[in-house]
Symmetry: C2
Subunit: 461 residues, 2 copies
């Protein structure tokens, strides 16, 4: 007998009325009296569970005592129950137990702490919180692909293993096939990297931007969507050593055009998730982040403010606030400033034209000679969500910036050559996917939006 | 003035008739007589180029001498030319040069060898071959996401950095933050891995399967789509050290169900690419792989044969062929055998129920005690495209297999626990994305379907 998905029953209720079906899945809980019982049942196909009603079964006693997490195969009939909270129930004619769990099963029917659930990352996807979060993560990923593919962007898989990187190798993990306990030395007494598989020291990447630019200069509009890595030894709620990034790069696009794209993309994603993840968002709005739905709906109709970095500093300096970090014209913007400025403008804020000394060598130097055409998008409740810039397209100017900033030009000569071989105005940005998922779900710890998070001293599973 | 995409003009010819436009892009070639010239022009938005016609321009001499790869900004009027090969041309009123290349530019207007183009991987996406291949790669990626999301699969980002892996750590790259020239030793004289960022030896993964199974047992149907790594020191046309994999895992699905999914998915992808990449496929069919279009169209109507491994060996043994590798009942199937068997059945072939001794510990042992419920899909012209199996869902049986095969059960105790905590029949497969792209494009070397390929001794860019 064909196995039905619970999701299909929810989607096509009328078709299933009075229909004999077979479902396979897991017990969330059982309530039973002497000769009558209910199973809260999930098969994982949708966020909502289904109710199985059972009575005169040969194995009634066994079923009545089933523990959470047990696997069952249930035959029965769908009965629509429009007067109840759940729109249907399944009246069981036969239930067989495929795998019964016992008290050893770590996920009992009670509210577990997120800290405890992190320790059982291989089971926590079964908990409601993670059922909601990881569904939204998956839907948001699809929204991103649909957005860019729909607009003619090419999806590029930039390399993970690399010998050039835009973030600097001190932030990068080394990859190697060498045996640490048997390293050969070269004639200078250093480890002989020629023995390694690639014949030199290789890293796993912190960004696909440089490679993405090469493709934008061939395909016009491209995006990457893949894992990136940082070695940061910091244990905060917003840092992980492995995370996914989306890095679009657009030829013939300046800073204003870039902000248009960032705003349009974010609204598209939020709208998409609001439409496709109603149940998940309602759950999160109730149990995790009050006001989440309001926040997301409000974003759709927000005007994103565009303001220069120096004007932001003006506002911060004038503010009647005792700052932990004093705002500085030549300096970065702290978390407290991000919060203030999104509240001040009551919506998302593009902070643009940053002091050149705190930004990367590849950002386009503005005519003032002091600022670069960089932009960070700050959103209410999440702070910085995207960071981008117009790229310096002039060969001599980027070379000058490299020298000023002690960038090793030899390692990136191919990248610099792009400024000689058909250079053009172009811009791009990066969005941390986990940051986005945190924003969409209201979940505050990055460890809870990654299937198996990697943080310092933590690489379980 | 708004910049138009060439793609839009091709898509909406009538709308553009006689319209004044501005386009930005690159010169592919220029042909000019004394007062009249043609530019073969691309802006990267579509595979086809456009023709710009120019005459009385102030800078006529400059334009007439432009080298391939130069960036221009062109204003002009669209003229439909239904009688010509190309459906329209752009009659230029103004052309300005943004970046002129010279003879130093490596991509001149002639046919370059793929070997040469590999050496300039940052420029080769501009060559026709790679314009076709990387567009198809991008469209095929979208086809995969649409297929699985449309059927309710959850997209899971399994970890790249891991301490457990299903392929065995001898095939895996180590990742580390340690300084090779200053390694601290523990009391046994070995390198003290506690000093590393994760406090132990970590690797980059060769498969997301184990983690994917944990998610399938919570979300029913899941798929991964991300990079994987192998340290194999082999320089063949089909091996790379970094490649992308798709690994679906489906709860309550047996081996027959798995083959249904593999066949359905492959037909979906091929149909999708045939519809969306007509120009690219025609180019490849003409210049790279004669018969490519026939091969793909034929697949859509093929019946995929399903046959046991031992019956394949029977056929091979009976064949009137002098094999380089003699077919053996307990052994693997060589490339020459794959080729023969797809020709024998004149279409794709599922080879199933393999000898247990040459397959992995997690595959379900069949009742005969000798074979496992594994399946490889062999396709004409590409050999093995997918490999999958029903997973052993019985705790005692998988433990027994681990012991027989000397698998370290401690490192995968969480994975084995899935067989105690709500175990169910489940199956999954892996498809190498590059293998698929090679099949779809007819390109024979894996280095030419990866933006920046990584192979032994080769990690440029």
């Amino acid at each position: 007998m064909k196995i039905e998905d619970i999701k299909n029953i929810y989607d096509k209720l009328q078709e299933y009325d009075d229909k004999e079906i077979c479902i396979n899945g897991w017990v969330k809980s059982v309530r039973a009296s002497k000769d009558f019982g209910f199973i809260d049942f999930t098969d994982g196909t949708c966020f909502k569970s289904a109710q199985i009603v059972f009575s005169k079964l040969d194995n009634f006693e066994q079923i009545a005592k089933l523990n959470a997490g047990s696997t069952i195969i249930c035959k029965g009939k769908v009965k629509l129950t429009p007067q109840n909270k759940q729109p249907f129930e399944i009246v069981a004619s036969d239930i067989s137990v495929f795998c019964a769990t016992d008290s050893e099963y770590p996920l009992q029917k009670k509210r577990h702490s997120v800290e405890f659930l992190r320790e059982i990352a291989y089971l926590r996807p079964r908990a409601n919180l993670f059922q909601a979060v990881f569904r939204i993560r998956s839907v948001a990923a699809m929204a991103i692909h649909e957005y860019f593919q729909g607009k003619g962007y090419l999806y590029v898989n930039t390399p993970l293993i690399t010998t050039t990187d835009c973030e600097g190798s001190d932030q990068m993990f080394k990859v190697t096939t060498l045996n640490f306990n048997n390293l050969l030395k070269d004639k200078d007494g250093n480890v002989d990297m020629k023995q390694d598989l690639f014949g030199k020291q290789a890293y796993i990447t912190g960004s696909g931007q440089l490679h993405g630019e090469a493709f934008a200069l061939a395909f016009n509009k491209i995006y990457t969507f893949g894992p990136t890595f940082r070695t940061e030894n910091s244990n905060t709620k917003t840092h992980a050593n492995e995370f996914w990034m989306i890095e679009p790069e657009i030829a013939f696009c300046d800073l204003d055009g870039l902000m248009d794209i960032e705003e349009d993309m974010l609204k598209f994603i939020v709208k998409y998730v609001l439409e496709k993840c109603k149940q998940e968002l309602e759950f999160l709005n109730t149990f995790v982040s009050n006001g989440l739905l309001d926040k997301l709906n409000k974003l759709l109709s927000s005007n994103f403010t565009r303001i220069d970095h120096k004007d932001v500093i003006d506002i911060l300096k004038k503010a009647d606030v005792k700052w932990e970090f004093e705002p500085v014209y030549g300096g970065d913007i702290a978390k407290e400033h991000e919060k203030y400025i999104t509240e001040y403008f009551n919506g998302p804020v593009f902070v643009k034209n940053w002091p050149k000394d705190i930004k990367a060598y590849y950002m386009k130097l503005n005519e003032d000679g002091q600022t670069v055409a960089a932009v960070d998008l700050e959103v209410p409740g999440a702070g910085e969500l995207m960071g981008g810039s117009q790229r310096e397209e002039n060969y001599d100017k980027i070379l000058k910036r490299c020298k000023e900033m002690n960038v090793d030009t030899k390692a990136i000569d191919w990248y610099l050559n792009l400024r000689k071989f058909g250079s053009c105005i172009h811009s791009g940005f990066g969005m941390g996917f986990e940051r986005l998922v945190m924003y969409l779900t209201g979940v505050e710890n990055i460890r809870d939006v990654i299937p198996f998070p990697r943080t310092p001293q933590n690489c379980l599973y």
